[in-house]
Structures are given as C-alpha cells and as structure tokens.
C-alpha cells in the first residue's frame, strides 16, 4: 500500500495499479467500518473519507517514511495511504491493545511512526502549527505534510502557520481537502474567500485542484509531482487546495443528505465525482476488479486480525497529583 513512486500516472502499469490499490483499500476498509458500525462493536466516532480518498492517495504517493505527516479527525485515508497497516487501524477502532494507538486514540487519533505519521488531532486547526514545527525538525530532503479540512482553514492559526512557513521557507506541504463543509455548516456561512487565497497572500505557492482533478487520483498524482519535488528541493512551502465532496455523514455512517442535513446537490456531486468510479473509468476493468478482490480479502483478513487483539483495559489508581506516567505503565499497552 502507498506506492512510493515519482513518475507521472498512467492508466495502466504498476504506478496506476499502485494508486488504485491504495484508493480501493481505503474504500474497502471504510466500507467494512460502515458494515459493522451499526452493531456498536466500534465505540468511537468515525469520520469517513469516502468521496475524498484520491487526495491522501495522491499526495502520499509522493512522500516516503522520512517525511513527517500529521492529520486530523478524518484521517483513515491518510493513515492507509501513508502505508499504515489496516489491521492496526481497525484494531484501534475496536479499542484493542494492538490498535495503532493502543486503543487510547480511537478513530480520531491514529499514529504510525514507522511510516512517519506522528499522529492526528481532533481539535480543528490544531495540527497546522505543529506541522510547521515538524518541518523545522526534518533533515533535507525530507518534508513535513499536513492534511486538513476547509474548517481548519477557518482558524486563525492557519494564517500563522502559512506566515511562518513562508517566512522561513520551510518544506511544508499543506494539503487542504475542501469539502465545503465544517460538520453541516457550509462554506458560505463561514468564509469570505477560499483557503487558497489566504495562502497566496502569504506568498506561499498555491495549487487549486478543482473537483474534476481532486477526484481523479491519476490526475492529482501527476499534478502534484513537480510541486512536491520542489518543496523537497527547498523551494519553501506549498499549499494545495483540493475541492472534494464527503459522501456520508460528518461523523458516523449515516447518509446525512437523505436525513436532510446537507442538500441533495452534495449527493449528486458524489455520484459524479466518486473517486473510485472515476479511477475505474480510466483503468482496465480486469485490473480494477482484481485489485478490488485482493483488497476485499485483505480487509477481511485485517479485520479478523484486529478482532483477535485483546481489548485494552486500563487501571486508574494513581493518586491525585501523581505523575501521569503511571497508568499506561501498569497496563503496558503504551510502553
């Protein structure tokens, strides 16, 4: 998972298959979550990537394990596109000790240090300045990347982060998945201008990918190749605003359009720009089917492995005021 190549995308061949494999893996993992979520086996608030998967798939394909990445509450796609083990993600959602965060994080807090993912935060906008700090810690040619939503760009710290990255010419890749919603509040009630305009103001190189491109994993991958290479070559930060659409509810697995929380046009957008559909149109059907089938099997196996992990059960008998180190030492899960 998480093809690490730099060549331009093609409709067939290993690069295209690698991209499609990641895209399809994210979709299948999240379909699995949707399938089991009603049973309450996953007691954690899930923010699904369905509809947006091409974005992490495309940019992560240009990154490697030395690059440090950070994300938000909606990071299943980032975790998987970055090469994360689906079983570790599913185990985390199941509250297992084998989960990527030992069960402590749940869906919103995933980590994968082996692949350079230093964590994700559920405080909207909170990771933006942290990403800039990551860029001060990496050694060239490594870069830092932050994957966030348009809501995060509402926060003032977005401007602070752009300013500092531009001022010090830091290798930060800001990737904004603009689904035009913060929960159920549309951009029109929140923003005077799109996030890209703010980046441009700070003289940060900015790319705007319309939904036609953001939903096309091959096109987006190609679009980002040179700009990311330039960040790596110390050209300073890069902002990428990807227009996209969220297929399901902000949180959970409900169809929130059907439930009246977002307008019908959102559903139509997803129908038109479902990245899986778009990719399949550009792939040989045989290859796509084969990869999907492999992913179905991989996800089932991962889920079985995840279920087999022991539940995280913690003891909290630390006295008031004691050092925080205690509890997870006892359990052992976190050490």
């Amino acid at each position: 998972m998480g093809e690490k190549a730099g060549q331009p995308a093609a409709e067939a061949g290993p690069l295209a298959e690698g991209l499609y494999r990641t895209l399809s893996l994210i979709r299948h993992v999240e379909r699995k979550i949707v399938e089991v979520y009603a049973s309450d086996v996953m007691q954690t608030p899930v923010h699904l990537s369905i509809g947006q998967e091409a974005i992490p798939t495309a940019f992560c394909a240009h990154l490697n394990d030395d690059d440090l990445k950070i994300g938000t509450h909606r990071s299943h796609g980032l975790f998987l596109a970055n090469g994360g083990d689906p079983a570790a993600l599913l185990a985390e959602l199941l509250g297992r000790r084998t989960g990527c965060s030992g069960g402590w994080g749940g869906s919103m807090h995933v980590i994968d240090l082996a692949h350079g993912l230093v964590g994700t935060s559920s405080i909207v906008g909170g990771v933006l300045p942290i990403a800039v700090g990551l860029a001060m810690a990496v050694a060239s040619p490594a870069v830092a990347a932050v994957y966030f939503g348009d809501g995060a760009a509402d926060q003032g710290v977005f401007a602070e982060s752009l300013n500092f990255a531009a001022l010090k010419r830091l290798p930060v890749l800001f990737v904004c998945a603009n689904n035009r919603y913060s929960v159920y509040t549309p951009a029109g009630q929140r923003r005077a201008v799109p996030p890209a305009e703010v980046a441009k103001a700070f003289a940060v190189r900015t790319i705007e990918a319309p939904i036609e491109v953001s939903s096309d994993v091959f096109a987006l991958h190609e679009l980002l190749a040179d700009p990311i290479a330039e960040v790596r070559a110390a050209a300073g930060p890069l902002m990428v605003e990807c227009h996209t659409v969220r297929a399901l509810d902000h949180n959970g697995t409900r169809d929130d359009v059907a439930a009246g929380f977002r307008p019908q046009v959102e559903r139509e957008l997803f129908e038109a720009y479902d990245p899986m559909k778009v990719a399949r149109c550009r792939m040989p059907a045989e290859a796509a089917d084969r990869i999907d089938a492999e992913n179905v099997r991989a996800v089932e196996a991962a889920y079985a492995r995840a279920l087999a992990g022991a539940e995280t059960v913690l003891a909290f008998d630390a006295p008031a005021g004691a050092a925080e180190a205690g509890p997870w030492r006892k359990d052992g899960a976190g050490e």
């Binding site: 405080i123 926060q155 929140r190 005021g321």
Partner: protein, 354 residues
Amino acid sequence: MSNWGTTPTLPEILPLGERPLAYSQAVFEAMETALAADERTRLFGEGVTDKAGTYGTTREMAERFGPDRVFDVPTAEQIITGLAIGMSLGGLRPIVIHPRNDFLLVAMDQIANHAAKWKAMFGGAIRLPLTIRSVSCRGWGSAAQHSQALHATMAHMPGLMVATPFTPGDAKGIALWAALEAEEPVMIMEHKWLWNLRGHVPAGCGPTPPAGPQVLRRGDDVTIVGISYGAADALIAAEALAADGIAAEVIDLRWLKPLDVAPIAESVRRTGRLVVVDTGHVSYGAAAEIVAATAERVSPSAMKAAPARVALPDVPAPACSEKTYYPGPKTVADRVRSMLRPAGTRGGRVTTPD
C-alpha cells in the same frame, strides 16, 4: 451507528413536579424564551442553525428569530468569542455556544483575558453581560480532546461567573438569568450525560439568579457534594447506601462562582464527613476547592473522617476502557463506606489517604 453514542437514560432521580421535562428541553425553552423576551439577545455558535441544532437546544431558532439574531459561524473560536464580547460592549446580550468544553481552550484568551477582566480593568465603568454555554461530553471513545470538563479552569479566573446546572429547572432558570439579567460574563457548563435527565421545569420566563448549593437529599452520616453530572452519581450512590443503612446528604453545587460554601460547611458540621464528586480531573480541580473551603470553615474537631474526592484520574481520557476510567455511583458509595469503616482501614480508588 450512534453519533458519538447515545446519551444514557438516567433513572428518575429528581422529583418530577407538575411539569417534568428533559434537561435538553429545558435548555431549549431557555433559548427560545430569552430570544422572545429581549430584542437584544443573540444566539450563535458552531452548528447553531444546522438541523442538529446544538444537541437540539437551538433547533429552528434561526427560522423563528431571523438570521441576524441567530446564526452559524466559522470554525474559529477566537472570533466567535470576540464577536460576543464586542456585541456585549456594544449593548447587545449575546449567547454564544461552544459545543464542547475542549474548544474553550482555543478561546481562552478571549474568555479569560478579555471577557473576564474587562469590567475590572476599567474600574467597573462598563459591564459585559455575556452568556457562554459549553457542554462537557464523555463516552463513545470521545478520547482526550473531546471529553474535558473545564469548569474549574474557568472558575479560577476572577471575573467569570460559572454555573454547573444539574437539575432541568436550574438549566432553564440559570440560562434565562444569564441571558436576560446578568451583568457579567456567565459560563454555563452543561453536561451531555444530563440531556435526558428529567425534572420539574417551571413554564414561562423565570430567570433564577446565582444561588447557593441545594440539598437534593437529606442525611446525617455523610455529605456528598455533586458537581454537574457528579450529582447524579451522588444521588444514585445515596440510594445504594440507604440500603446499607447509611444516610447520605446529597448537595448539588450549582454555582462554582460565586461560591457559597456555608450550606456545605453547615451540612458537614452535622455529618462530620465530606465526599465531593466531580466530572473534572481530580488534581487542582473543583473538588479541591470544595474540600479546602470546607476545611477552612469547619473545625477539625467536628470531622469524623478525612474528606475525599471522587473525580477523574490525572490522565487524559482514553478512547477505550471508559468503564474503568470514569468513576460512577459505585465508586462514590465505596468511598463513603470506606470512610465509615474504622480509621486505618481506609482505601480508595482515586485518592488514597496514607
């Protein structure tokens, strides 16, 4: 399935009176009543106008009172809060909602450096009426950044009034008072697990100004002070203790600031024992203030046992293992029982006297 899981249905632990309503419904009534009663009120916050309507407490208010008075906002807690402060200084009576306590931390500068201090900084020349509603949540793997109860942090800041309404009646009355009559910033710290709690709620517009703690249940063996949802744990524990022949007095703190400790001290002088049940972290938390303020006021000779706190451990909330993380009625009851055992055999879950 469930969005952040379901809010638990509590047993009927409060008198229902003639007009029993759920807590969330009481807050809803406060919002609609305040908006109808005073043209100067405004209501806003993240998601206030969406179909979910802040856990149902603001549903359809924008349609009824117009988009100039009820509106949604950017995901930016500093401007949200600063807006409210400016509106207040300009003569309006804003009600701002931060749907989770955790998000208050983004707005701390506006809340604690500005709203709290404005009146004092100008020698009282100006007033800053402002209602900030914020909800503390727990459960369903909310995890460290979506589970905080920050009322103690707010109450430590002079210039803020801080309420933790527990009964539906208080939830309505206090919100109305803050929105319509208060002259200072009032932080109303709600708790999501109280949404379904039912109790008597007077009809109409009855603002209730700050008041001392209220006794929810009488008893002579131990005083249990509950803060916010802690009062529910306390009431349920008291019921269990009664079966053992232990009569617990249960007191709902209601207001952290202003704090009226006298009724608690009076109760403790009678029972000689104090347990404080809080929804925040134990160290440097609200329970510490109650224990300390009581200790200052009650002669040590009146105490039959050392006081105790039941609150969250000093560890950020994990997404997993919530059953062992959160104290509950059993924790409270066990704590009381160990307090009634002869000295030297004590032991506890969160705090361990040595």
